[in-house]
Subunit: 464 residues, 4 copies
């Protein structure tokens, strides 16, 4: 009976509770132990839709509840294996493939292909869809996919199931369904608490820190889905400032004076976070940035520049890999560094820096700055990943794909432990110029060209 | 440029209008005549996503606008033909079919099938999805499918396209996304005006008639979709009464006294209407009725009976086909009718009734009532359609599939011209008994059994 | 018991219904017949607040219900008489007056006056305030004052009561509490239905007429009070047009093409209606017009002119009174009219016009137009009421007090029966020029100066 | 000009900002230095309403802004003195008093009194009312009264002004205007932050503490005013528990398990806080408690008992005053205490207890418990204030006036520093029994009777 109660609750929570008495016979038959209480048996019962679609969804709700309360990962794995088993019927697929092969003209081929597609549609899709009706059903599905991605390993059946789920979710979470909402200090505390949990780029330390990030010269926007109204999908934090920001510590300084946002000429996107692991591979970031640029440009006419202040997560690793490369430093650089650090040769000096837990504490680090800055520019503007084409830095790749350009490299941009460890404290501004976005995007995606300011480009090429 | 303005407008209408100046270069390049301005050329531009997804959607918005303002059906047909042309690549499909055939074990077969499904996915799906982002994009797609169903004829390519659209819409309009809302006299006039347009069972004649249908002893509920918030998908009108209602004219009488709804013991569902032709084949009615039963049972504890008062659209046609059947009437009936009508035989009297513009005006019609009632019961309880299984009456089939039973046949239930013409004025009550719904549904769907009261069943069988 | 149920219902309607069982003893004691069940006895029970304020308000709610269901005007009159009887205590007033007379310095006089004010405060005010807690209590009080104004006649006690009510309501309906809302075709039908009832200047004939008045080139705004959220207090209808409108029939023509509001340069306020008789004497019109001018100027930058198109309700009556005045017509005018109408002298011609049920139907009326126009200008710009100062026309007085000026007189401005009867079809534009409002207001209120265009002023003075 | 911009902003903030250009001439004249820029001169300008009411309110807004930015208390004092000076005209009052004295019959006396009331109405009331139109005008008035109460001292003019403000606010903050809202973890963070600031009974230490107080077995309700929608007026915190709670530390323990609220049989009101000093003397607490009791009783049918867990702020002070009273202790008590504490006589022992900063730390305090408990019961049930009638304890007086009874005294009920200092750690439950509220209220207010359980009553009387 509890299955029915859960089934359609939604907005009508209390209604159902009582009406369940009225519907008791129906409930009883639904809740009655089916011949087969295994995952597979219960899934079959949902798919057969005995008693009609409404009853089937009541059963699906029961199934969801059992999944959620399953004590062990191994139970969930069994659930997924059972679900993956509801695949398309091979005989029917074979017949439909035959018809496609036999079709002579475009028209009959089109018809045959349509039938083949239908034959290939796995029944498990129907069951997954039934879960949408339960309260918080969409969140349930998203979290279920997150579980599946953890558990599937290299099992081809589970991977096929995962692709099905991704396809369904991509459909339901299409941009056309998303709602852009501003988050501020008037937002529900429960939502703000979630932000704290989801912020991974620059951790929110306290409620005071959070409040500071939602002050009048700050903005925070998130995408939401109508069926998960209390769960942000992705959010971006923006600072309204004068001139490009080069230091995230300054941006997050709670004691910094608040700027009248109408005086701001620059919007700095300093943190963007995906919130739902279960939506991995379904991309919102590009669209979110552009929507927010549009909104801000309308609200605050003084804004002329839209830029990120971004981490460079792969810089240090790359540098470590390069440290023995012969052409890493110019002769002059090597000499200067050697003198400063008191080590026999330049590369060793770099190695020293890399080894240091706190590079900024080294007395001669100021001397190393121009060298490191040049190398950072090179890393961002010239270095490619394994495919020999994409920017090597993943954050860089994201923004360049979106049509941004590399604008400025900032020494001491992030002096937190994480910042020093990942990128020796460097940060970078990627600039979104509405007039150039399309061109840059095409250039990067098409020919792998890497838009950057002339100065940065020259700097990057310095040693070559 | 206008394309961009349309593209993302949504809630941000005014924002976009002005920001379009800021984004002018982007806009210009999007709006610039592409090499190929044909439907096909423009569709290709959307699918190639030059300049990124946001630009592509801007182009799709332009395409949508062109479609909407296309002057002639022939232009729309050309649009659909171009769109249908973006089918899956046959070579890729052939290769993927080969891999399926070659796979040896279940796991590799599963993987191969998943790839085949992907290969079969027609690119036009992506373009259709891009339309969701435009304002009122969902309504645009629904209306587009309605157009397509009118225009497609027997063209297999267009039929395949139609199936694609149906699949997409079925996904997006899954029950899990629908919102049940009550409509009453406090609802927006713009929405009520739509109800007037969509009500097809018992036409709403005036605003006074409408207000009467939304009075305190009436209820109206509709399903809505979050992306079409001002468009009802389906709605049901309910009267709260004492005892089963047998006459729709009495129900709609504006001068009838208003009942305190807490005194009602019966809810009569007297009109249910689908509003969107473009959602044909995606069924909401069953779920709507059950949700409303649940809601009402909770709100008004006095309600014990949930029943429809339904038209019998096929009765007269069936009777005409039967009028010369030798076993139509019992001997006694034939005699009684012959006397009453002064005609040579009872069947001829029936024919006379059928021929009359206003059968109720025949002086001897009262004599014919028992005969016609019996025939009506027979039509509803025994007669089947071409498949020899389903109830012949389409409204009957709908309610029996949902798990209702045939409860009572009402002479003079609908004395409107339409009622007399379709069913000689008869109406029928289908009763929803929560305790029996599942059983009845199973019986009807499984074995074709036709639940009805014993009295009706006897009456129906009377002449056999 | 029902009294308690009514008392605090408010938003918590259903809650109270059930909790009333819990509170049954309290309810019983409140509901028990007091020693004195007369209006006066029950009022005394409320004022004594036996059982605390919450109980007292429960009793007040019962009293309100009895008032509302009182069958005859005479019962309501008795209610008012009883209520008026709860006046300040004369002995206490006398003592306090003595203290005021005895006070020597400003400070002690201030204290004594404050005490006298307190002594003068009639207990009935407290009871009136208790009515605010009942559901729709504010509407109840407003309607009660409307009743009182009808029934009070010249009874000084009832007039004093009426003044009390007006004072209370003026406090509660201060501008600071009012909410300006736009009304359009998406507003609740129940609200639109009220508009139809309240529109008295240009009757709304049909829902189609109403919809036309809420179209995209029309605006309608109303003030609402937070405690009467479904009741408009006053509303104004505005047409967005090009150039000054001179004909209300053209404005209301349902077949006229709709103008893109961004193309409009002029906003015409063509109807303003007070909705609550019980708020007579508490003025919102001035503020409403100015708020709407502000809003429109912001929304539609193209708007440069804000003007009314107003009736001239007193013109015909004035003209009739003047018809034998020797200087009404110039010699020339008299001659021209006499010729045209074929009557012996000019005044008789005017009389003829006045007598005509349908002046526009007279064959020679075109000849009379310049004369009538001049007289209309004179009536508006020069004629005064009994005080020798205020504009004689009441609508004119309202707009001139608000700081408008007389802009243009329109022949055939309102050819409805009412328009012809009241003003021979003339209408007038009062223009609100934000830069002049304060000056015009001061001039009119201070010195009785009557702002008008030079042309109108000359025309008005023509015959003098 | 800024004055105008501020004046009517309200919801139309942005609208005004731009339209102020349109209205520039009006603005200029309003903003122009009046002949007299003193407080008095500016107040006079508002009252004269030159340019109409809208202009006057613009000026009042400017005045409000000057008040808010006045640098020193002395400026505010000058503001209040100027405002107090706008008193009723003494000549007019004298004349009106004469007319009252001269009136012979009730009717003409009523009329004369009404006129006298009008003559006594000080013009400053009108100016105060003009402040309602500014954004946050209601909060401005409330805060202004708080300032005035601080500054007025014994100045009779300022006291009269304060009474005026209180009268106005009492009218506007009548129960009929208040909205009861539940506050929970989904409420805006900005609102929750205010709660933290306003909670004075049991300080909220951290966001975690706050979240714990808003958990599913806790409730928090507040009254709001429609014109101060983001400012709570008063709020109450409730715990849903099983059986009467005797310890606030246990209630606030963040680690205590959460109770399913449907299992609760008792609602404990453990903190009630007024938030606006400027509303002192306008009482909401009684009504808030009763509304919340009603709501909870409806929502959770299992609740049978509604009780407070209250501090006893005056107990320790009273005890100190009594310490030399001869009959404070019985002989036996004195002996037992003397032995326990090792002091020569009982009273000294009490003194010792009183002196102790941390009574619970005394080794023999357990021995003292029965004595202290008895004295606490006596304090609550028998002791009166100066008038010889009211309960001496102010919290006790509040709840007894509301119709509660003294239910139980709790040793170690509040072991916080404040609790120990004020009441040696004792707390008390006041019980609200819906069936008795009216009777208890009447008894207490009428005859000063003090409802309590028989046990407590006996205990209290023990030593007499």
């Amino acid at each position: 009976m509890s299955d029915v109660a859960v089934a359609e609750v939604g907005l009508f929570d209390r209604a159902w509770k009582r009406v369940s008495l009225l519907w008791r016979d129906m409930a009883a038959s639904v809740g009655s132990p089916t011949a087969d209480a295994s995952w597979e048996g219960r899934m079959r019962a949902c798919l057969e839709a005995r008693g009609g679609e409404v009853s089937a969804r009541a059963r699906a709700a029961g199934l969801a509840q059992s999944y959620q309360t399953a004590p062990e990962a191994v139970d969930k794995l069994a659930f997924f294996q059972a679900l993956a088993g509801f695949d398309s019927d091979f005989k029917a697929v074979e017949a439909a493939m035959g018809a496609v092969s036999a079709a002579q003209d475009t028209a009959s081929r089109a018809a045959a292909k349509a039938k083949l597609r239908q034959a290939l549609e796995p029944p498990r899709l129907k069951l997954l869809t039934q879960f949408t009706t339960i309260p918080d059903g969409m969140k349930f599905l998203v979290d279920m996919r997150a579980d599946l991605m953890l558990l599937m390993g290299h099992d081809p059946m589970l991977q096929a199931l995962e692709r099905d789920m991704r396809g369904l979710l991509a459909n339901w979470f299409d941009l056309g369904f998303l709602e852009l909402r501003r988050i501020d200090w008037s937002s529900p505390a429960a939502l703000l608490e979630k932000l704290v949990g989801y912020e991974a780029v620059h951790k929110i330390r306290t409620w005071r820190d959070l409040k500071n990030r939602l002050d009048s010269d700050r903005r925070c926007y998130a995408f939401f889905h109508p069926r998960m109204p209390e769960e942000p999908l992705i959010f971006v934090e923006v600072a309204l400032v004068q001139g490009l920001s080069g230091s995230v510590q300054k941006l997050l300084d709670e004691k910094a004076p608040v700027l009248d946002p109408r005086m701001a000429d620059t919007a700095i996107f300093y943190s963007i976070n995906n919130c739902q692991r279960g939506l991995d591979g379904i991309s919102f970031g590009n669209s979110l940035i552009k929507r927010v640029v549009t909104l801000l440009a309308e609200e605050l006419r003084g804004l002329k520049t839209f830029s990120t202040l971004s981490p460079i997560p792969g810089f240090r690793r790359w540098l470590e890999e390069q440290k023995d490369a012969p052409d890493l430093l110019t002769e002059e650089e090597a000499k200067s560094l050697t003198e400063a650090a008191g080590t026999p040769d330049g590369n060793a000096a770099i190695a020293l820096v890399l080894a240091a837990r706190r590079p900024l504490a080294l007395p001669w680090i100021g001397k190393a700055e121009p060298v490191l800055t040049r190398l950072c520019a090179r890393y961002l503007v010239l270095e490619t990943g394994k495919d020999g084409r994409r920017a090597r830095d993943p954050v860089g790749h994201f923004h360049l794909s979106n049509g941004a350009r590399v604008e400025r490299v900032n020494w001491r941009g992030d002096t937190s432990e994480k910042g020093l460890k990942e990128s020796l404290g460097f940060m970078v501004n990627y600039l979104y110029d509405p007039a150039k976005i399309e061109e840059y995007h095409e250039g990067y995606v098409g020919e792998g060209s890497r838009p950057a300011t002339t100065a940065l480009r020259r700097l990057a090429r310095g040693s070559r």
